[in-house]
Subunit: 200 residues, 2 copies
Amino acid sequence: MILYDFLPSGNGYKVRLLLSQLGVPFKRVEINILKGESRTTGFLSKNPNGRIPILETNNGQILWESNAILFYLGAGTKFFPNDSFEQAQVMQWLFFEQYSHEPYIATSRYWISILGKADEHRQAIQEKRAPGYAALSVMEKHLTKCSFFVGDCYTIADIGLFAYTHVANQGGFELTKFPAIQAWLERVKAQPGHISILQA
Amino acid sequence: MILYDFLPSGNGYKVRLLLSQLGVPFKRVEINILKGESRTTGFLSKNPNGRIPILETNNGQILWESNAILFYLGAGTKFFPNDSFEQAQVMQWLFFEQYSHEPYIATSRYWISILGKADEHRQAIQEKRAPGYAALSVMEKHLTKCSFFVGDCYTIADIGLFAYTHVANQGGFELTKFPAIQAWLERVKAQPGHISILQA
């Protein structure tokens, strides 16, 4: 398999982490999104939406959207439940991640720590504070009752939410008021085969 | 089953439409989000993220996130493929819908046609034009080659993308330059059991 990826990306990291934990060998192709490499004709022929990650399977099939790739790779493994309602709960948290979490927490990190342009985006960063903390509060509330997001087992829902939550401080979000999230981050890091975000 | 819903919502409509096409009986509970009814203690005890739709199953299990509900109801029916790669492609388009389409096209419609506050949100609406049209261009490109989004069959990917695309004009998006999208909208409307967005 080939993973078109950008090392600092949490969305890319999700897939790298799952592949590592599955023990699936893959070739990583670095796409420097800061240099326009996700907007070339060649790249857009793979993903017309111009975003990493993209997974290219051994058959040459192309799949994009990080959480859809998690679903594809995770289905039928211990990282995805067997029960159909629990499967839907995994998807619920992954959609929550993309709609209510990533646009605030990941985007702030992108401006502040990837682009290094906090000043230029000061107002937009400020507007993302409240909805970002609201997403963290939803997670905190859930994690005070549960060890992991679904079925008290580590699943792709945890992988999806871990990616940008564990580097939320790089987007200016403080996790000190979220003890249940902090404890969950440690549980995720303790899973066999865990790799860090900048570990290719 | 109980569907907590808001009639003008495209996210609620997705679920209503699938339930109708599946012939599954359900009770609809209207939550007027404009009157704060999705922020009450009772509602937040069902969805801490404070959004409709919510599905409550016959067992009293609670599921939120419209596209996760589509997955739950659609899995194992003719509206979801059997092939695992095609299943992942369905999820790809549903994540695309929530990340790259809904935040621009649905949000513009909300400000303009649901709240009736186009003037107040003029600048934000303007900022959503380019990414909204970019999402429509991605869809157009795909639909020039395919009748439906995945496997040339009508699936929950089509239901998910139809919901806000067919009312994109209510958010100020013109579909005249997207003939493939227009033809696809007609194919979706022609599916057995189709209902319109304001049909409870």
